[in-house]
Amino acid sequence: MSQLPPSLAATVVLLSASLLVSALAVVSSTHHVREGYAQLQDLELRRWELQEQYTRLLLEVNTWAAPHRISQVASEALSMRAPDLGLSQVIAE
């Protein structure tokens, strides 16, 4: 075995080290991608569930606030009625 010049030897060591580092970085980033992807899937599922909840609540609100229910509650439970004209005053615009 002939002797390598020291500068070349240093380069080889440096390159091998960086190869090792980059290989480990690949492993770690792949791991992160997987983790991130799992998280993304969880979030997508969550978005779906939230949307599901949102539309359910939207429908619920509108069922409670349906005009016929409001008029029913107003007239039956609260004994309200539309003001007749004698009771209303027109304020000039």
Partner: protein, 575 residues
């Protein structure tokens, strides 16, 4: 080496042959590698990559929701809600011992399920139960029946149910509009599902996402011109009128004459859009827009326009209607009684057949037909509603005497309630015709209108319409407390086999309110009211009154009948 050299004297060619053979082996391997990894054609790299992808990479559709439909105030009218459709791979499920269990869970008959599985036995996919609530679907999926999976979908719900059913229309089970607004604005509402690619593992779970190939584009929200409160009130009053008159069908439509917006439209019969099982198609029609009727006396208003435009008449010109009947061709036309000498205005107020006939004979049918055209009869209103009819104007080569006059009182032509409402909206809007729309308009960016009659003529006609609802007119029941309203009744004999039927009527009323600032036009049509109250003045005008009261209240119109208001204030509130 040196010792071997001494022991065996190898011929040089053997060495060469071995070297070449080894080199050839190496070259073959390398060549094969290059072929597999580098070259593109044949069984090369591309092919292999594709084959690999075929086994692991899947493209999945990203479902998108359909756009929300809301009313002018943002209240949702149609909402897409996530649901889960349960499906199965028949080949995996077929021989499962848990089939009974699954059938019970889904409330299916086991025998039916077995038949279905056998039928789809050579397929990999079949629906078990579509559009299940996510909670229920999750419970079923948690039990891990073999081959049973869930697919996310959206289902359309209509919070207002039957109140908005005919206008909004329906979507089919795959979420495409098949009727009404859902169909008319399908492109706008319908989203474009996205696509993504991912690698799946042995169990079919995604392990790595290649990302989205096509970005999903959810459907866009649509704001209608409808006012749900108003729509509800109109619907309620129409249903009530149907019950009271025993009519077979009816329609009501309210327009904002200034903007051309349709504020409410209801029909009878109705259907429940949230339950498909009991779908009855006679209830699915938006009759106010799809069914054309003979408009009868409501057209006399337009005859009045022609009369005023001709210059031969003013609203105070006197017409002699004695003796209360007039012969046209072979036919005798009657008034209910002899009104004698009355003004043109009174002719309309009383809806005198004889008076209108004389006006029609004086101005000629061409002039009347021209007015009808300008008021948009026989022509679509521009809403784009699927199935909207344009009605028909008569187009005879030769007009008989009777045809020339019947046109003036609304026989021999057909129009939909929305067309009648639009014609009156032109009057209310100072003679400016606007395209009608079902969408909320920006009041500062209205489409250009077209001046079709002189504003002064429109004003005079409205003045006459105002008198129709006053004491002595045909539609006193159309009055709305606190407001001055105007309108015109119509009572039309229905057409049956062999001509007009004596005992079947269509009652109409088209009105404008408030007269001080005419803006809201409502047309009422009641098909076959029973009993004695069959006429427009008795069957339709009260419905108009009740609906218009709500319209003016909900739209915050200012009461304009000061005398009445003073009167009511003095008496301490009317009740």
């Amino acid at each position: 080496m040196t010792r071997a050299k001494q022991a065996y004297r190898l011929p040089r060619w053997r060495f060469v042959v071995i070297c070449l053979a080894l080199a050839a082996l190496a070259a073959t391997l390398m060549g094969r590698l290059v072929l597999l990894q580098v070259t593109e054609g044949g069984q090369g790299a591309v092919f292999l990559r594709e084959q690999g992808a075929l086994r692991t990479v899947r493209t999945a559709e990203i479902p998108v929701y359909r756009g929300l439909i809301e009313d002018r105030n943002g209240t949702p009218l149609a909402v897409s809600s996530p649901v889960v459709s349960l499906w199965a791979n028949p080949q995996q499920l077929q021989d499962s011992p848990r089939l009974d269990d699954l059938a019970a869970r889904l409330s299916l008959d086991v025998a039916v399920l077995r038949d279905k599985l056998r039928f789809y036995g050579d397929k990999q996919f079949m629906y078990l139960a579509r559009h299940q609530t996510p909670d229920f679907a999750r419970q079923v999926l948690r039990e891990n029946f073999p081959g049973v999976r869930g697919e996310r979908e959206y289902r359309r719900y209509y919070p207002a149910g039957e109140v908005t059913a005919q206008l909004l229309g329906l979507t089919n089970v795959d979420g495409h509009g098949i009727a009404g607004v859902e169909l008319a604005f399908e492109d706008w509402l319908q989203g474009v599902p996205g696509k993504k690619r991912f690698i799946k593992d042995l169990h079919g779970d995604a392990v790595r996402d290649f990302g989205v190939i096509e970005e999903p584009r959810p459907g866009q929200a649509l704001a209608l011109s409808l006012d749900l409160r108003l729509q509800y009130a109109q619907h309620r009053e129409l249903q009530r009128a149907m019950k009271e008159t025993g009519a077979t069908a009816g329609s009501a439509i309210t327009l904002d004459a200034w903007t051309g917006e349709v504020l409410a439209v209801s029909n009878y019969p109705v259907f429940n859009p949230n339950s498909r099982k009991e779908l009855d198609f006679s209830g699915a029609r938006n009759r106010a827009m799809t069914d054309a009727y003979e408009p009868g006396s409501t057209i006399k208003t337009l005859t009045l326009v022609a009369a005023l435009e001709s210059g031969q008449f003013h609203i105070d010109s006197i017409i002699d209607t004695a003796p209360g009947r007039i012969r046209v061709g072979a036919k005798m036309l009657h008034d209910p009684r002899d009104y004698g000498e009355i003004s043109v205005s009174t002719v309309i107020e009383k809806s005198s057949q004889v008076g209108v006939t004389k006006i029609a004979q004086a101005v000629g049918h061409e002039a009347i037909l021209d007015v009808l055209y300008r008021f948009g009869l026989g022509e679509s209103t521009g809403t784009g509603f699927p199935g909207e009819r344009a009605g028909q104007l008569p187009d005879f080569a030769r007009w008989s005497d009777i045809e020339k006059v019947t046109l003036a009182f609304g026989y021999g032509l057909t129009a939909t309630p929305i067309q009648l409402a639009r014609a009156y909206a032109i009057l209310a809007n100072g003679g400016i015709r606007r395209p009608l729309t079902l969408l909320r308009q920006d009041p500062d960016a209205l489409p250009e209108g077209q001046q079709v009659i002189d504003p002064e003529v429109a004003r005079e006609v409205l003045e006459v319409l105002g008198r129709v609802t006053e004491p002595g007119g045909t539609a006193t029941l159309a009055q709305v407390p606190g407001f001055s309203v105007g309108g015109k009744t119509g009572t039309v004999h229905k057409v049956g086999a062999g001509g007009y039927l004596d005992d079947q009527y269509v009652a109409l009323f088209v009105g404008v309110a408030p007269m001080s600032a005419p803006r809201y036009v409502t047309a009422i049509l009641i098909d076959q009211p029973r009993g004695d109250h069959y006429g427009g003045g008795l069957a339709a005008a009260p419905v108009y009154s009740r609906i218009t009261e709500e319209v003016l209240r909900i739209r915050n119109a200012q009461p304009d009948q000061s005398e009445l208001r003073a009167l009511l204030s003095a008496s301490g509130g009317g009740q």
